[in-house]
């Protein structure tokens, strides 16, 4: 407290707590933080995609798994895409439920989203086990496993977040007014889904 402040404004000052009001309007600060973090994640995947396209552009001959390995399993990857896209919808149903204050539906939809996410990860591991080539087998293998692997790691991170949301929902910690964590994890889950759509389109569709 400076003497000068007192002198210049003897009257009309609010109390300290009332005078210093922050972040009272607009997007919750935590949600803004998550959005910014996602922006940095977009750039991270941007870097990985750049390595993929650069390798593809500079590799002579056919682009794909090395000689003697299996072709990519398009059907399995398509099914996994459907699972992850569906999980984005179930996530959003959960977010809408908590906005209404319906914690029963929140628990249900979060649980379903978590199951779909785990299904996706198990399917991806199964796919890896069947492919017959590895990260060290040429630049296709390197970029394929790096892109899909880092995406998978992000799905895993999202699943951890969903588990926390589910546990907190079971304890009744969310309400229609107080549920910013659900919104943030929901946002992250949609991001992970969008990244997979980009990965799937790049690796499986743009052949």
């Amino acid at each position: 407290m400076t003497g000068r402040t007192m002198q210049a404004h003897p009257a009309g000052e609010h109390e300290a707590a009332a005078a210093i009001q922050h972040g009272q309007s607009g997007m919750p600060t935590a949600l803004l933080g998550m959005l910014l973090f996602i922006a940095s994640e977009v750039m991270f995947f941007g870097g990985l995609f750049a390595t993929y396209f650069n390798a593809r552009a500079t590799t002579p001959g056919t682009w794909g798994p090395p000689e003697g390995a299996h072709e990519l399993d398009f059907a399995l990857a398509g099914a996994l895409t459907a699972i992850l896209v569906a999980s984005s919808f179930t996530m959003q149903f959960g977010v809408w439920a908590v906005r209404r204050g319906d914690s029963g539906k929140l628990k249900m939809w979060t649980g379903i989203t978590l199951i779909l996410g785990v299904l996706f990860l198990m399917g991806q591991l199964y796919d890896y086990s069947q492919l017959g080539f590895g990260i060290a087998d040429g630049v296709f293998g390197t970029t394929f496993y790096t892109l899909t692997g880092f995406h998978g790691a992000h799905v895993f991170g999202g699943a951890v977040g969903l588990t926390i949301i589910l546990a907190r929902a079971v304890r009744g910690q969310f309400s229609a007014r107080n549920h910013v964590a659900v919104e943030a994890v929901g946002m992250y889950w949609h991001f992970v889904d969008v990244v997979w759509i980009a990965v799937f389109s790049t690796i499986y569709l743009l052949r």
Partner: protein
Amino acid sequence: MATTTLEPRAGTYRRSWVLDWLTTVDHKKIGILYIANSFLFFFAAGILALVIRTELAVPGMQFLDQATYNQAFTMHGTIMLFLFIIPALSGFGNYIVPLQLGAPDMAFPRINALSFWLLPLGGILIFSGYLFGGAAAEGWTGYSPLTSDQYSPGVGTDLWIIGLTLVGMASILGAVNFIATIFKMRAPGMTLFRMPIFVWTVLVTAVLILLATPVLAAGLIALFIDRNYGGSFFDPSVGGNPVLWQHIFWFFGHPEVYIVILPAMGVVSEILPVFSRKPLFGYRAFVFATIAIGLLSFSVWAHHMFTTGSVFLPFFSFMTALIAIPTGIKMFNWLATLWRGKLMLTTPMLFALGFLSMFLIGGISGVMLASPPVDFHVQDTYFVVAHLHYVFFGGSVFGVFAATYYWFPKMFGRKLNEPLGKIHFWIHFIGFNLAFFPMHQLGLDGMPRRISDYSPDAGWNLLNLVSTVGAFMIAVSIVPLLINVIATFINGEPAGDDPWEGNTLEWATTSPPPPHNFDRLPPIHSERPLFFLTHGHGHAAARPADLEENDEDDVERRGGAV
């Protein structure tokens, strides 16, 4: 905020001093931790610089072998950039930005603590290569294929990758925190265009960190996969592309240059108006120039790669030259601020003026390097080393010292001794120019960077010796600084709340501020709320736009007595 009254007041219970600092989430303590940590790494990397300059003082290999020399310049560059300049400026940002915004803390205090503690961890990992058969030795740019497991089999390079990734994560988390703080934590009345310039530069810097650093992380991870899991991102024998590393590194690396310089520009823009007793000339032009530099910084990375033959020279040359325009605007902002000002040559002002002149030299040699015909001749010579030291050291580090002298009284309640500060400045300034100006000529004479020895007949002997003398002068100049800091802690002149008659809100509270920063805030009608407070409405009327913008709570806070 009724709940705050229910919590125990700060200071009502005791805990150990060490535990308090280890677990603090107070942005001011974290800021001081940042700065202290940065100076420790500065001393370590400075010793490495002396090692390099000692070896180069005269021709012949005197006391290093070539492998040790390579490690020395790699660690010097990496540590100076990633663990000194950036964290030091982040530290001042941490301490000052919430105060300048009138906020009680950063938006995410615990994430703030995390992003600090990742730094010493990353730095120790980078340095620990010395304990495991040798630190990274391929230059701070880590060019492929030097970094491949074939040419750098040691674990030092892996530790460098992991350490840098951690430091990068710390930066990203810090950037999220700064942006959220600036957008969500401003005091009532603190509109975006009333924010101090330092806050603006920190904001643009945070956006650059947020968008550029993850790309480096992707590159570092690719490099780690290449080295440890048989990947082939950068290995041309199995389809990879070594030039890809340069693209990724510089896509990060050029915004990085502005990450390093912009907050220093912000510091200078705080100091020059205060010690010229004038407002900053062209506040809005300065803000837009800062934003323009931030935007352009993403379109110039390949000017580091002119000689690879794989980039479109005219585009990157043109975009690079374009950056000189917003930078030039800032130069004129600063000069016009000084023009007919009532100049007070205090130590922070001297360092700010040092910044202006040295950064100008670095900026001019930068425009020279943006021209491909020049760049082809001086690529990888000491001319580039001279250029980058004039912008990083003459620019950013002068900014760090200016900030140190300027905000030390706020942080610790005592003013650093002025005569000692001036001795520090002059030895530093002369030493700096002795060390780095000759490098321009050495580069033009063809001396390549990163060599540990040179022929006695090359004609480089005298200039190298002069440069080494300058390097030791810089080291000597740190002695008065250390004496000054210690003496001030023991028996320094009390600073009072506002020793410099500052313009911005950090001077509106006590020195050091209480844990919650402000008991109450002065009204905020301009980017100089404290000037307004001291000199009253007579001066404010000179800016009718500000009065018109007054919102209702301003009127209310003045008790309706306008």
